[in-house]
């Protein structure tokens, strides 16, 4: 059977499953639509949270970023998991005890201010919409590649599927759909990794294989996988895989931004409203991280092993021998993947010196320039290797069977679609529940609220699709903005709302606005205003940046400003009223948590 047919079968079967579940679990009442009637078990909820959380960025992109950078990009691994500790300890149980449906409802009630609620809604909508744009871009690329259709057609099909189950299913449909998506996603990620780990190290668990000795014994006996990798990449002039090359300040701030952003993203926090009890909210965060860790512990192994495989394919006779020839790439079956991906424009090579061989090396160092001159090389000939294709191409690179490739296609789409659906739900509840029912038309009926939630979803997905066709930047940049915004605006307000009785309405509003605006302006100064190229005032590098901090890491500083301003302003203005102090006290104690209170 052709690979195209296999991909189609896997993707088609997984979609039929998701849509089937969404129809089976159609939401009836408002309460079910938002929070699944709070009937979701912590383990189920953890699995759905994991699917919700792991997007195209985790599944498709992250291992590729680690593969080509090594240790420095460990920040993604720590940042995107460490946030769950903050969620579990600082937010989840208290927000569940509070017992309302949305994040902005908590902010509005705790800071007894419709303005605070409005500011929170704006932060949530902006962060979520930018995040969805990134996902839709990913959906388009993945669909385009595996169905062998154009990016535009792939994006439109993806948008229709997300619309179908998010709009008609609501949270309950999404919860069970996401459990199914998690299963598809994790199998798609780990099965090829197990195969590759067995090939390279003889260890079936990739996370352990990363630190094992290689299976094939060379002349000097068996060596550790990482030692071998360090050796061959440095031979070719690349930075060593395991050493640090980035400054500590940026690594720490970037990790912190991702952690705080995780604990400030509405679609993740909302998950903790859907468990039956406060104690379940505590367990839920743990279960979510268990399911996330299965992928995150595998990802560094996928990255290192793929880097080794790719480098060895380019230098089949060792780094001091003869590199692969153009003819071999074009004819040998183990190089077929290069021809397939070349068609997408994300992978390319060029025989610059016309010797019929492809020399892959780092042509930007002085030491390699000497080697190149001595050997008649005229620059790196593997001219383009997009980081984002690594995970999707990985099973092909390792020459795995066709069904594994089809499974990875389905997994990548599950990751992107599940996150898009969760974010759409967060946006729709912000618009219908907080903006319309909470502020503009308080007397609207439950039916009208449900309808407006669905309209908000349709509008959000239309906007995301249009912007996804002409994305404001790379998906990673868009995602970075979403994280920075959530970190700088939402998380500090939620945390202070629980841990301080003193922070008042004025303080919270000033804090959120200053954190949000500072972060937004700093990002725009480095990435261009509204991401329009060439409108940036500073280059987006560590050395050229305004404070020596990269724009992706600035969310952590924005959060600190938010904390500082909110507390300072609160001390200078009127103390919180007695009933708010009582509200904070009641949120801190699990006893008395009932069902959700709708108002």
């Amino acid at each position: 059977m052709e690979q195209f047919t296999i991909n189609l079968l896997f993707v088609g079967a997984s979609f039929a499953l998701y849509i089937g579940i969404a129809i089976w679990a159609r939401a009836g009442s408002t309460s079910e639509f938002y929070a699944a009637g709070r009937g979701v078990h912590p383990v189920t909820n953890g699995m759905a949270t994991a699917a919700d959380w792991m997007s195209a960025a985790s599944f498709i992109s992250m291992a590729g970023l680690i593969a080509f950078t090594g240790y420095d990009n460990s920040t993604y691994l720590m940042g995107w998991t460490g946030g769950y500790v903050l969620l579990a300890l600082l937010l989840a149980p208290y927000l569940r005890k509070f017992g309302k449906f949305t994040v902005s409802e908590f902010i509005g009630d705790r800071f007894y201010s419709p303005t605070a609620r409005m500011v929170a809604v704006i932060c949530l909508i902006v962060a979520s919409v930018t995040y969805v744009i990134g996902q839709m871009t990913g959906v388009g690329v993945a669909f385009g590649r595996f169905l062998e259709i154009s990016n535009t057609a792939g994006l439109l099909i993806g948008a229709a599927v997300v619309f179908a189950y998010a709009v008609f299913g609501g949270m309950k449909g999404v919860t069970y759909t996401q459990v199914a998506q998690y299963v598809v996603l994790i199998m798609a990620y780990t099965i090829p990794a197990v195969f590759i780990s067995l090939q390279l190290t003889g260890t079936p668990i990739p996370a352990l294989g990363l630190f094992s000795e290689t299976a094939s014994t060379g002349a000097e006996g068996s060596v550790y996988l990482l030692t071998k990798l360090d050796q061959i990449v440095t031979d070719l002039g690349f930075a060593s895989y395991t050493e640090a090359h980035k400054d500590n300040l940026n690594m720490v701030l970037f990790t912190l931004s991702l952690m705080i952003g995780t604990a400030g993203l509405p679609h993740v926090i909302m998950r903790f409203f859907t468990v039956p009890k406060v104690s379940d909210a505590r367990w839920s965060a743990g279960w979510a991280l268990v399911f996330i860790a299965l992928l995150y512990l595998t990802a560094p192994a996928v990255g290192a092993m793929a880097r080794l495989n790719i480098t060895e394919l380019m230098w089949p006779n060792g780094t001091s021998g003869e590199p692969v020839s153009v003819q071999t790439i074009e004819t040998a079956p183990e190089y077929d993947w290069m021809l397939t991906w070349q068609k997408t424009g994300l992978l390319d090579w060029e025989d610059k010196n016309g010797d019929g061989l492809i020399q892959y090396y780092n042509d930007e160092t002085d030491a390699m320039a000497e080697t190149a001159a001595a050997n008649g090389w005229e620059g790196n000939e593997l001219t383009n290797f997009n980081r984002d294709i690594l995970v999707l191409a990985n099973p092909e690179i390792a020459n795995l069977p066709g069904w594994v490739i089809g499974l990875v296609a389905a997994g990548g789409l599950a990751a992107a679609l599940s996150t898009a659906a969760g974010l759409l739900l967060a946006i729709s509840s912000a618009v219908s529940h907080d903006l319309l029912k909470g502020q503009l038309t308080p007397n609207m009926s439950e039916k009208a609220e449900l309808l407006s939630a669905r309209i908000a979803m349709a509008v959000a997905i239309a906007v995301a699709t249009v912007l996804g066709l002409n994305p404001p930047g790379f998906a990673a940049q868009t995602v970075a903005l979403a994280f920075g915004l959530a970190a700088a605006s939402i998380f500090p307000a939620l945390m202070m709302g629980i841990f301080s009785k003193r922070v008042n309405n004025v303080g919270a509003v000033c804090g959120m606005l200053s954190g949000l605006i500072f972060t937004l302006v700093y990002i725009f100064l480095h990435k261009g205003w509204l991401f329009i190229a060439e409108t940036n005032s500073f280059p987006d590098t560590v050395d050229g940046s305004l404070f020596g901090i990269q724009s992706t890491a600035i969310g952590a500083i924005g959060a600190l400003i938010n904390f500082g301003v909110a507390y300072g302003v609160s001390l200078m203005t009127k103390d919180t009223p007695q009933e708010i102090k009582e509200l904070v006290e009641s949120v801190r104690i699990p006893a008395g948590a009932g069902g959700a209170v709708d108002h």
Binding site: L225, T255, S279, R282
Partner: protein, 93 residues
């Protein structure tokens, strides 16, 4: 009069419960920061003498160790807090 004393006692128990909770959170967050920002990034040179599978302990903490510690922290906190809820009689029905 009797009712007021009961209320005061309940308020004090609530305050003690919260203080105990904050103490557990602080200890957990110190561990959280030490394994990630500490062992994984800032203190990595200190751990460079300890070899782990072709690299050093700091690399392992940055790519896997910190995640495992995060997991342990969350489950420890959930278990400890559910116990604390019962000690102070503030658990849900």
């Amino acid at each position: 009069m009797a009712e007021e004393t009961t209320n005061a006692r309940a308020a004090k128990a609530g305050a003690d419960y919260w203080k105990a909770n904050v103490r557990i959170i602080l200890v957990s967050l110190v561990i959280w920061a030490v394994v990630s920002f500490g062992f994984g990034i800032l203190l990595r040179p200190m751990l460079s003498g300890i070899a782990v599978g072709g690299t050093d302990l700091g690399f392992w903490f940055a790519q896997q160790g910190s995640i495992l510690v995060f997991l342990a922290l969350i489950f420890f906190y959930a278990w400890r807090m559910n116990k604390l809820d019962r000690e102070y009689g503030v658990e849900e029905d």
